[in-house]
Symmetry: C2
């Protein structure tokens, strides 16, 4: 199984990296862009085909290692 | 419109950050994980509702600023 995880900053947390990209886009004449927020994308490949187990492990790994629960939220999908 | 962009390293490019996470997971007894690859996730909000224009701008912005075409590939979805 494979997990695709998206980790993003909570809405109320300032994102200086996103602000910097937004600023660069304004300089490059992409004035249509109103806001940019930057997060992380993590792919994890499991050595088994048990979807439930992959989901449970993905949640545990996000909670314990990948995401900072104070500042971040995560979503994931599991695929074969 | 809003663009959700995933940028990942090409398959043949070494990912030291992913290796470090994989190593940490082994230490934490998550031995079921075979491979970890880390990428970036970018959300861009446009100040208009023209889907075609948003797609075109997203591609241009990825090509010119967000992704390194030598080492990275990107995918995106556009939503209302």
């Amino acid at each position: 199984m494979k997990a695709n995880i998206i980790i993003r900053l909570k809405k109320n947390i300032l994102d200086p990296q996103g602000k910097a990209v937004h600023h660069a886009l304004s300089d490059m004449q992409f004035g249509d862009v109103e806001e940019v927020r930057i997060g992380r994308f993590v792919e994890m490949v499991f050595n088994h085909n048990n979807r439930e187990q992959a989901e449970e492990e993905t949640r545990k790994i996000c909670d314990k290692l990948l995401a900072n629960p104070i500042m971040e939220v995560y979503d994931y999908t599991i695929e074969d």
